[in-house]
Symmetry: C2
Subunit: 310 residues, 2 copies
């Protein structure tokens, strides 16, 4: 009762108990090699991060060091602070940084659904495209990275961190993408890789996801959602290629609100994967400001700039 009262007074995300720290290493959805989807995530107070997607690592770590987020050399952040990678799907803009930095990295796990791991083995960590730093696929295997296949919805511990993850499949055009529900103690963060709307993808993956997280929203345990908005709302449904617009984001989050049966007013919604050119990214922001009839707390991540969740 006291808790419910407190919740109703402070609203979503207004409690002052820190839960997670996010360090965005890259925030854009393609084209700009210096700033592609990658987000370090740790429990508040911990230096042991996992990395959600890995489009850009090195250039983002350098930005974070400039901003005094880390007080060390770039290679130490890569080697010591990142304890594993959660890769949402196998498109190059979500993992190029992992491949390019692999020679300098330390041994760790790559967590993903089976189809994504398969593409690492047959496309990227091959001896024609790079070198095989994995522990499966072409020989010789350098075995720096251990492939850890995630089973949908099964909670999995993330080695060398105090985090666990549950993976939920998403529809992204011809590929299966992934939403990662990360837990630290009793706090959760939901990160979605690229996804189209259920209506366009002829899928119920988002609906299933919303059903799964609804109880966490009601209990104020879900601290934020990180979700993509790739194109402005003018993008035609036929040219979405498995992505969301401001319009479709709001359609989906109305669906979530209905399923959760609680107002999403004030709920922290971190907008990822905006695609250049710059004028489109600005347009997405304008449209979201205008169409935000749920009163979501919209957050635009900046490369190398900390987001602390409460």
């Amino acid at each position: 009762m006291i808790f419910a009262l407190l919740l109703s007074l402070v609203g979503f995300g207004q409690t002052k108990i820190p839960s997670f720290r996010i360090v965005p290493l890259g925030v854009k959805g393609g084209a700009d090699e210096s700033n592609l989807s990658a987000y370090m995530l740790a429990p508040a107070g911990s230096d042991h991060y996992i990395c959600l997607d890995a489009g850009t690592l090195h250039a983002g770590i350098e930005k974070a060091i400039e901003n005094k987020v880390f007080n060390t050399l770039p290679e130490q952040v890569l080697r010591q602070n990142i304890k594993g990678y959660l890769i949402s799907h196998s498109h190059l803009d979500h993992l190029a940084g992992l491949i390019l930095n692999s020679p300098d990295d330390t041994a760790k796990n790559i967590y993903a659904l089976a189809a994504c791991i398969e593409t690492f083995k047959t496309r990227y960590f091959t001896w024609q495209a790079w070198a095989n730093f994995g522990d499966q696929g072409e020989t010789p295997q350098l075995k720096k990275y251990h492939y850890q296949v995630l089973e949908p919805e099964i909670e999995t511990r993330l080695d060398n961190t105090d985090l666990t993850v549950q993976a939920f499949p998403l529809s992204h055009s011809n590929l299966t993408s992934t939403a990662f529900l990360v837990r630290s103690g009793d706090s959760y963060l939901l990160y979605l890789g690229d996804t189209g709307p259920d209506d366009i993808e002829k899928s119920d993956h988002l609906k299933t996801l919303w059903q799964n997280i609804a109880p966490l929203i009601r209990a104020n345990k879900l601290k934020a959602i990180m979700i993509e908005v790739s194109f402005p709302s003018e993008q035609s449904d036929k040219a979405l290629f498995g992505h969301l617009t401001p319009h479709w984001l709001l359609v989906e989050l109305h669906q979530l609100q209905e399923i959760a049966n609680i107002p999403l007013s004030g709920f922290k919604t971190i907008i990822t994967h905006q695609k250049p050119p710059q004028r489109n990214m600005e347009r997405i922001k304008q449209q979201l400001a205008k169409e935000n009839d749920l009163s979501l707390q919209l957050v635009y991540p900046v490369q190398g700039k900390v987001i602390d969740l409460y």
Copy 2:
């Protein structure tokens, strides 16, 4: 006779007739996604460039625009000024920018030796890793890029430019890499992709290349060499992975001087592909300054900063 006198007075690269313009879009040899090997090259006075390797495009074009090299939008440089790509080999740090920018690009050719084209078809422009923007490989083929296989040493016209190219195979550990000899009228530029020294690679590819360019050096038609130095000289021969150090660069260029039978003093030598960390890159520069007993004119390219050749 007058020409010979003039040449002996002014030395290499000191004539005042402009030949080429280089716009480096990325200069480093790995890890830093914002600045990987890619060099736009055009005849002096032309806006029609080819791009030698394509590790980083977008981030380099933005730097060049900041420096007022181009007075247009980034997407226009990509779409209008780059008329084709010459890719030296299939490692990701030499072509990631091409893949990542393909959705925004216009139709053009990708020129490379057969093995490199094969890797585009089977690894990168596949529907698991990206989309097939090529005109061969997995169906459906979006056919934005035409694969043009180069035959070693056969001069090939580069469409929509006033340039031609001859390709020479190089040894790069398990891969065949490529040197591109680009011609504009009576002027030449030689760009080498990643390469190890002949001694370590058990190869004669560099020797063959030196024999082919020796007459151009004697005739003062070769305006510059762009060549890689990836590691400081301390790197052990066993850990070169098909790369050069300051020590091995000098060994190879002594070989070239002997074959050309003319002093290389003052010859413009553009050093590419230095690998981070920064302290290694500084060490390479120090070692080259110290070991440069050929009195080469050493040039360190900077992302987005023009190099004009004469």
